[in-house]
Symmetry: C2
Subunit: 305 residues, 2 copies
C-alpha cells in the first residue's frame, strides 16, 4: 500500500464525519461543535463535542494527526526509539442521559517511527470498542459483542477471543478487586504488520471495527432511548459514572500519558461523564437490576457464543 | 519523650473524637458512622463517615494505626530501607452541601522505620490543612490562613511561609497549567527530628495544627451555612468538585499510593465529593463571582499578611 499514512488519515477523518452524522440523526436535537486545534510541536486535531441533546448528555468524537521528534520522556517512559514519530487516531466517548442507554467508548489509532532519513523503522496499530451499560439488557450485550466478533472473524477467528480477553483485562478498576467499568468489547495494541498479518490486514481490521461502531451501538440506543426512568435509576447511573471517572483518571494509560505529557486536556477529559456520584460503600440490593449489572462487571461472560 | 509512639496514637485518636463531636454539633442533624477495620498485614483503622447532613453532604474523619514489614515495592517505589515500618495518622475531608461553605482537607501523620532488632532507625512527620472554597470570601481566606500562621509562628516564624508555599506547589492540577484545587493552607512532609527541631518540636507542631482545625474552619462554616443559594451556584460547586476529583485521582500521592498498594479503597476514596460535574471547556464569565474564585485558584495570594 503506497502512501499508507495518507490513506489512514483519510479513513479516520471520513469515519469521524460519518459517525458524527449518524449520532446527530439518532439524537435528533443536538449538533456537534468542532474545535480545530494545533499542537505547537507538530500536527493537531479536530475535537467535536455534543452536549445536552435529546439522547446524548455529553460526548466527543475526536481525531488527531500529530507528529514530532522522539523526546527523552518518550524514550524512558515509553521505551520508544527512533528520531521522529507520527500518530493518527479517532477517539469516541458518548454518555447518554437515559440510564437504560449504555455509554460507549472507542479508539482506533496508528503509530509510526522514523529514523533520521525519514524511513519507517516501526509501525503499529491499536484500537478497541467497549460498552458500559448502567442496566443489563442481555440482548444488547449479545448484539454488541456479536457485531465485533463478526468483523474480527472475517480476518481470523482467533482474533475476537484474544481481543475480548484483552478488553476484559484492561478496563478493570483494580483498586476495587476485579470490578470492570462495563461489559467489555474488544481491545488490541502494539499490533505490528508482519509476514502473515501485513499492513493491509491491520488497516482492514481497524477500519472494519471502526465502521462497525454505528451498527454495534445505534440499534441499542434506538430501542432504549425512550424508556421512562426514575430518579433512583439516574442516581445509580451516576454511581456507575463515578466508577468510569475512577478508571479513566487512575488507570487509563492513554489518559494519564496525555495529561502528563502536555496533551490537550479538554480533548482528553471530554471522556469524563457530565455528572458523577461518589458514595461511601455504596452497594446495590442483592438480586436487584442494579446488582445484575454490577455482577456483570465483576464476572466476565462470553456474550458472543 | 518516652514511648513516643503511644503518645502520638493517643493524641490522634483523641483528636478524631473531639473533631467528630464538633462537626456533629455544627451540623445539627447527621451523626458519624464508624467502620473499624483490620489490615491483614498489621494494624487497622477507624473510618468515620458523615452523609446527607444539614451542613455536610459527605465527609470522613479517619484514623489509622498500621505497621508491617518493609516490602520490595516500598523499597523500590518509595526508597524506604529498614525491616519494619509503622504509621499513624488522621485524615479528614468534609464536603458541605452549601456552595458558600468551603471543603476542608487535613492530614497529620507520623512514620517510623525499624531495624531487625526493633530499634527506630528513621522517623518523620507530615501534615497539612488546605481549604477549597467555591466562592471567595476574603475574610474567610484570611481567617483560615492566619489561624495556621499563628500556630506555626509559636514554633518558628520561618515555618508558615515555607509550609504555605509547599501547599501552593502541591495542590496543583498541573494538567490545567497552574490551577490549584483551592486557596491552599499549609503542607509539610518528611520532617525528621534533629538537633534544633527535636521530636517534641514536631509533635508539638503537628498537634498544634491538628488542634487548630476546629478554630480555623468551623467559624467559616457557621457564618456561611445558612446563606441561600441558587441552582447555578450549586452547578458551579459541582464543576469545582470535578477539579477536586481530578486532583485526588490524577495527582495526589497518598491516594495513588493507597490505591496501588491494596489500601482500603472505601476509606481512601471517602475524600471524593458526593457529586461532581465535568463539562467541556467550562469557563466562568469574566468578572463574575465564579471567576473571582477561579482567579484565586490560578494566582497565589498571601492571605495572612
Amino acid at each position: 500500500m503506497t502512501n499508507f499514512k495518507d490513506t489512514w488519515i483519510a479513513y479516520i477523518q471520513n469515519l469521524q464525519n460519518s459517525i458524527c452524522a449518524a449520532i446527530e440523526a439518532e439524537d435528533g436535537v443536538a449538533l456537534f461543535k468542532e474545535d480545530e486545534w494545533q499542537r505547537p510541536e507538530g500536527g493537531g486535531g479536530k475535537t467535536r463535542v455534543i452536549a445536552n441533546g435529546n439522547v446524548f448528555e455529553k460526548g466527543g468524537v475526536n481525531t488527531s494527526v500529530v507528529y514530532g521528534e522522539v523526546t527523552d520522556p518518550m524514550r524512558t517512559q515509553l521505551g520508544i526509539s527512533g528520531d521522529n514519530w507520527f500518530a493518527c487516531g479517532l477517539s469516541i466517548v458518548l454518555h447518554p442521559s437515559n440510564p437504560f442507554v449504555p455509554t460507549i467508548h472507542c479508539n482506533y489509532r496508528m503509530f509510526e517511527l522514523y529514523n533520521k532519513n525519514g524511513d519507517v523503522i516501526d509501525r503499529w496499530f491499536g484500537g478497541g470498542t467497549d460498552l458500559t451499560p448502567y442496566y443489563l439488557f442481555e440482548d444488547d450485550a449479545v448484539h454488541f459483542h456479536k457485531t465485533y466478533k463478526a468483523v474480527c472473524d472475517k480476518f481470523d477467528t482467533a482474533l475476537y477471543p484474544e481481543f475480548k480477553n484483552n478488553c476484559d483485562e484492561y478496563f478493570v478498576n483494580s483498586h476495587r478487586g476485579k470490578e470492570r467499568r462495563g461489559i467489555g468489547g474488544i481491545f488490541y495494541d502494539y499490533c505490528r504488520p508482519g509476514k502473515d498479518r501485513d499492513i493491509e490486514f491491520w488497516f482492514g481490521l481497524g477500519s472494519g471495527c471502526g465502521n462497525a461502531l454505528i451498527d454495534s451501538y445505534l440499534p441499542i440506543v434506538a430501542r432504549r432511548k425512550s424508556l421512562p426512568y426514575t430518579a433512583d435509576q439516574k442516581f445509580w447511573q451516576e454511581i456507575r459514572r463515578g466508577r468510569y471517572v475512577e478508571f479513566n483518571l487512575v488507570h487509563d494509560r492513554g489518559t494519564l500519558f496525555g495529561l502528563k505529557t502536555n496533551g490537550r486536556t479538554e480533548s482528553i477529559l471530554m471522556s469524563l461523564p457530565p455528572t458523577a456520584r461518589f458514595e461511601y460503600e455504596y452497594k446495590p440490593v442483592v438480586g436487584s437490576e442494579e446488582d445484575k449489572l454490577w455482577q456483570a462487571c465483576l464476572h466476565v461472560r462470553d456474550w458472543a457464543k
